[in-house]
């Protein structure tokens, strides 16, 4: 039971320190997937996978829409909607939500810096009537992955005039922005960094150093355990 409590205590502390982006076990096979661009920079073009749109329906009842999480297939744009996020409307049974990655260069220029990755268009409509949902009755949350460090996030109903949102970066990689999602429309991140250049090897070098340190630590652990075990054997004789 002590190990269970220890684990849950570690989880609670980690969640407290790292907000809501914690998994029960940090483990797995794959390293983070490369960013998927609608219009990739030239040196990413050969390996780029075009991001796909997603469409889903949310049930609508007298209390409003059901709770829902909607993400693009690559997880680069994620919406979380609480129950009642979309107000009820007479005769309407569902809310159709569509998220489409868009080339930001096809939209108005961002007020500061340059676009940081794709823009996304979020469309919501009542079904079966088809009337557009203009704003949410209860704001949800939005997490948007970005390819470069940056903290600016803008929204626009039409993609022609941008309004800045109060966004925060998502740890640990800082390559994500989280904000309140209050209305459908266009969303685009921006950065003040210079234009992308070829990637450096600093991240790889860092992990090589950790790898060497871990291997050295493992060796030290083994030596200590061997010496300790030998002493125990001598005592046992």
């Amino acid at each position: 039971m002590l190990v269970l409590v220890t684990y849950l205590a570690a989880l609670a502390v980690t969640v407290g320190l790292r907000d809501d982006h914690v998994r029960p076990l940090y483990d797995g096979f794959a390293t983070p997937a490369p960013y998927r661009w609608v219009d990739p920079p030239a040196f990413f073009a050969s390996d780029n996978v075009t991001p796909a749109a997603t469409t889903t329906t949310i049930a609508l009842a007298s209390g409003g829409s059901a709770a829902a999480g909607i993400a693009t297939p690559d997880g680069q744009f994620v919406l979380s909607l609480a129950r009642g996020a979309v107000a009820p409307r007479g005769g309407q049974r569902h809310v159709l939500v569509r998220i489409t990655p868009v080339d930001p260069n096809q939209l108005a220029a961002v007020p500061a810096g340059r676009p940081n990755g794709n823009a996304y268009r979020v469309e919501m409509s009542y079904q079966p009537g088809g009337a557009a949902v203009r704003a949410l009755a209860r704001p949800g949350s939005l997490v948007m992955e970005i390819p470069e460090i940056g903290s600016d996030l803008f929204t626009s109903p039409s993609g022609r005039r941008w309004s800045k949102l109060d966004a925060r970066t998502v740890p640990p990689r800082q390559l994500g922005l989280a904000t309140t999602f209050a209305s459908p429309g266009y969303y685009v991140a921006a950065t003040n960094l210079p234009e992308l250049v070829a990637a450096t090897a600093s991240s790889s070098d860092h992990s090589i150093a950790i790898g060497i340190a871990t291997a050295a630590g493992a060796l030290a652990l083994l030596v200590v355990a061997f010496l300790y075990a030998r002493r125990r054997r001598r005592r046992a004789i």
Binding site: L8, D20, Y26, R232
Partner: protein, 174 residues
Amino acid sequence: MVGCGLLAARPALVAATPSPVLTLGLLFAALLVLGAFLPLPALLPRQSLARTRWTTLPAVALGVLAFGIGRALVGGHPPTSASAFLIVTSTLAAVAEEAWFRRLWFGLLEPAGTTIAVVGSAVLFAAVHASIYGYWVLPLDLAAGLLLGWQRSVTGSWRAPVITHVIANVLVVL
């Protein structure tokens, strides 16, 4: 040692090879084979007989309960959508890591005492994840490693941590 170093240096491996999935697959397959089949030092009789009070099922139940509670408490969205490929690869990773840490490393350290084996294998387990997820995961993965190591010590087998680790990895993407 080399296996732990390679696990910790996964980002560099991925960056250096044209096919990251194949590279990681081969790494985990190698760790699985080595971890599962390399011979271990014989234990003192007192230690080998001390681990009979628990069976695998309650140990697995407690481990799954811990990770299940953790998943429920954290809530939110998974970092990526679940797919058969993701579940297969994360299962391979879980089994390989358990063979490596809870069979091989636990077995190598166990002659020095069960506590050293549990803590030592947990420390290594947490350390190899720091390069991928950041240093702040050390406490959480250390606690997870302690839980999995405890399962190994009370059941006398690496079967319970394997089952728990596989389920925990699936919970991450659900």
